[in-house]
Amino acid sequence: MTRPLRLESIRPGFPEPSACPDGAEILERWELLLRRVPRLRPWVGEMLGQQRVLLVARLEGQPPLVIERTLWQELARWLREFEALPQFAVSAIATTLQDEEREVRAPAGAEDARAIADAASHSPERAVGEMEALLSDAAFALAFHCVEVRLRPRLASAVEAAPCISRVPESAWFGLLHSSAPACPLLTPDVAVALVLRVLSAEWMTLPAEARRAALRLFGAHASEVRGSAQLDRLCRSLPPAWSLLPESAPDFVAASTQARLALRDAWRLCNRIATSVTSGKRGPLRGGFALIEVDGAAPAGPEELEELSETARKYVGMAGFRRLLALLQ
C-alpha cells in the first residue's frame, strides 16, 4: 500500500501541483474549458477519482508522486482532446455524459428513481430557501393565501367527513390538484396557485409513478364509475399502501376529490379578484409577479375578502410577500 499523501492541490480532487511542472498552465486551460462547458466539471472530478483508485491499485508500492504525475498526464491528454474539438461537440459530450450518469444511477424503474433523485438533489434547506424567496413576492404570497383560506379548510372538512380516507396525506391532495390543473407557460393567478400547490406537495413526487397514475385516475373519476366497477379493485391495489384505501372507500375519495377541485376553483377565483384589486388600483409600476400576472378580467375583491387576507398576513407575519401585498392594496 502507498502511504497517504497530503494533497494541497488548489482544486479538490486534482493531483498534487508539485508533481507536474506544467500543472498551473494545465489547470488554467481546464478552468477556461470548464467555464465554457460547466456540465463537464463533475465528470472531470469523477474521472480523476476513478483513475486515482485504479492507479493506487496498479502502482502499489510506487511513490505517491508517481500516481500524481500519471494523473497530470491523463489530465493533459483529456485537455488536448477536448480543446481540439469544436465547442458544440464538447457541449454534446458533456450533456451525453450527464445523461449517461443519470441512466447509470437509474437502470430499473427509471421514472421512480428519477423522481427520488430529483427529490434528493433538493435538500430541505434549499427547498425552504427557494420557497421563502418565492413567497417573498406579493403575487405568490397571495396564491399561498388563497390555498390557505379556500382550499385547506374545505379539503380538511371533506376528509374529516370520511375517516376512511384520512390516511391520504394533504401533500397527496395538493399533488393531485397540481397535476390535474391545466398547464400554462405564462404567469397567471391559476399558475401561481398551482405552483404553490406544487411546492407544498414535494412528498407526492416521491411516490412510485404507478401509484401516482392510479391516484390520478381515481381523483378524476365520476361518482357513478366507482360503484361496483370490476376495475376499481385493481386501481385501489395500485395506490400507495400507506393510504389504506379500499374499493369501499373509493366513493368517499371521489367525493373529497370533487370538493378539492371545487375548492381549487374558488382559490383561483379569489386569487384573480385580489390580483384585479392590486392591478386595477395601481398608482405606479407594479413590482414582481404582479408586473407579469395576467388577470382574467374578474371583479375586484370585496372588503370581507381583503379582511380575510389581512388575517392570513397577521398569521404569517414573517412572510415578506404579505407585507408587500398589503402595501399594494393600500
Binding site: 373519476a221 364509475e225 407579469l292
Partner: protein, 306 residues
C-alpha cells in the same frame, strides 16, 4: 437591449426553477412517453422552427445572437436542429450550425417537426398557416405529412430576459439591482432557470396529468405510433370533454383531424368489448377513462371490431 423589470424577471426565474412551466404543448424530443424519451421513436434529432411572429423587434435583437451563439448548441445537444426563425411566412431553412451538425441523410427522411411559438403572441389562425405551409412543402423531411408536427408555446419574455442576462454587463447590473440577500440565490438560480427553459422547450420537464396518462395508455396499445400522432388523438379526445372556454388550441393536429373537424359536439361511438379487453390488460381503467381512450384510439385511426 430590452428594459428588464428586475423584480418581475426575478420572480419569473424563481417560479420556473420552482417548477412552473416555461413551455408547454405537444411532446418534444425529451418528453417521456411510457418511460422513454419521444426521441427514441425515430432516430435522429427533431427539427425546431421558432416562430417570431408577434415578437417585438427589440426582443428579436436580443434573441437572435443569443440563439445562434449560445442556445442553439444547447438545443442541439437536446436533439433539436433549428431552422431559421420564421416571422410572417412559414418556410424551412436550416441554420448554418444545424446544417453542419445534422447527421448524414437526416434531410432525406421524414422527421418530427416542433414549432416553438411565443405564448399569447400569436392568433389561433396562425396554426392553420403552419399546417398549410408544412402541407405544401414537398420535401422528404416532411414526407410524414403533418402527423409528425406539434407546437410548444413558450414564455418569450422570459427567454428574452435570459438572453439578455447572458451578457455579463447586463447580468451584473441586474444583480446589483436585486435585494442583497438574494444575490447569492440569483447566482444559483440563473443557470438553473436557463437549463429549465431549454428543457421545457424540448419537453424534458413535462409533468404528469390526465393527458400524459392517456398518452402513455394509447401509446402502450400502439407502440409503433409516433408520440406526436398519439398526442394529437389524445388531445382531441380530451377537448371533446371540456367546456368551450377550456378547450385548448390543438398543439398537434393532423390533416385528417382538420378535415374531419366539423365543430363540437363530435359524435363518438361507445367503447367496444374488444377494445376494453385490450386496454384493461394494460392498466386498470374506469369507465370514463376507457371511453376517452377508445375515442382517442379511433382518432388515431384504429377502429376496433366488436
Amino acid at each position: 437591449m430590452v428594459a428588464l423589470d428586475v423584480a418581475a424577471t426575478w420572480t419569473r426565474i424563481l417560479s420556473v426553477t420552482a417548477g412552473a412551466a416555461a413551455a408547454i404543448g405537444a411532446p418534444g424530443p425529451a418528453t417521456r412517453v411510457r418511460g422513454k424519451a419521444a426521441l427514441s421513436w425515430i432516430e435522429g434529432p427533431w427539427l425546431a422552427i421558432i416562430d417570431f411572429q408577434g415578437v417585438k423587434r427589440c426582443e428579436r435583437e436580443v434573441l437572435d445572437p443569443w440563439l445562434s451563439q449560445h442556445a442553439e448548441p444547447l438545443l442541439l445537444v437536446r436533439h433539436l436542429l433549428l431552422a431559421k426563425p420564421v416571422s410572417d411566412e412559414v418556410f424551412i431553412d436550416l441554420t448554418s450550425q444545424a446544417r453542419e451538425a445534422m447527421p448524414e441523410g437526416w434531410r432525406d427522411a421524414p422527421r418530427p417537426v416542433l414549432i416553438l411559438a411565443p405564448a399569447a403572441r400569436t392568433a389561433p389562425e396562425r396554426r392553420r398557416e403552419y399546417l398549410d405551409a408544412l402541407s405544401q412543402l414537398r420535401i422528404p423531411l416532411l414526407a410524414g405529412g403533418s402527423e409528425l408536427w406539434g407546437i410548444r408555446e413558450f414564455d418569450v419574455e422570459l427567454l428574452v430576459a435570459l438572453a439578455q442576462l447572458a451578457n455579463p454587463a447586463e447580468r451584473a447590473a441586474f444583480r446589483a439591482a436585486l435585494d442583497p440577500s438574494q444575490t447569492r440565490l440569483f447566482d444559483q438560480q440563473l443557470p438553473a432557470a436557463e437549463a429549465a427553459v431549454l428543457d421545457d422547450l424540448v419537453g424534458a420537464r413535462d409533468e404528469e396529468g390526465a393527458v400524459a396518462a392517456d398518452l402513455d395508455g394509447l401509446s402502450a396499445l400502439h407502440p409503433e405510433a409516433h408520440p406526436l400522432a398519439v398526442y394529437s388523438a389524445v388531445e382531441r379526445a380530451h377537448n371533446r370533454r371540456r367546456a368551450e372556454k377550456e378547450r385548448t388550441q390543438f398543439s398537434a393536429r393532423t390533416v385528417a383531424a382538420r378535415l374531419s373537424a366539423r365543430g363540437f359536439p363530435e359524435a363518438a361511438d361507445p367503447c367496444t368489448p374488444a377494445f376494453a379487453e385490450r386496454a384493461d390488460a394494460l392498466a386498470p381503467l374506469l369507465a370514463g377513462d376507457l371511453q376517452r381512450l377508445f375515442e382517442a384510439n379511433q382518432l388515431l385511426g384504429f377502429c376496433e371490431e366488436d
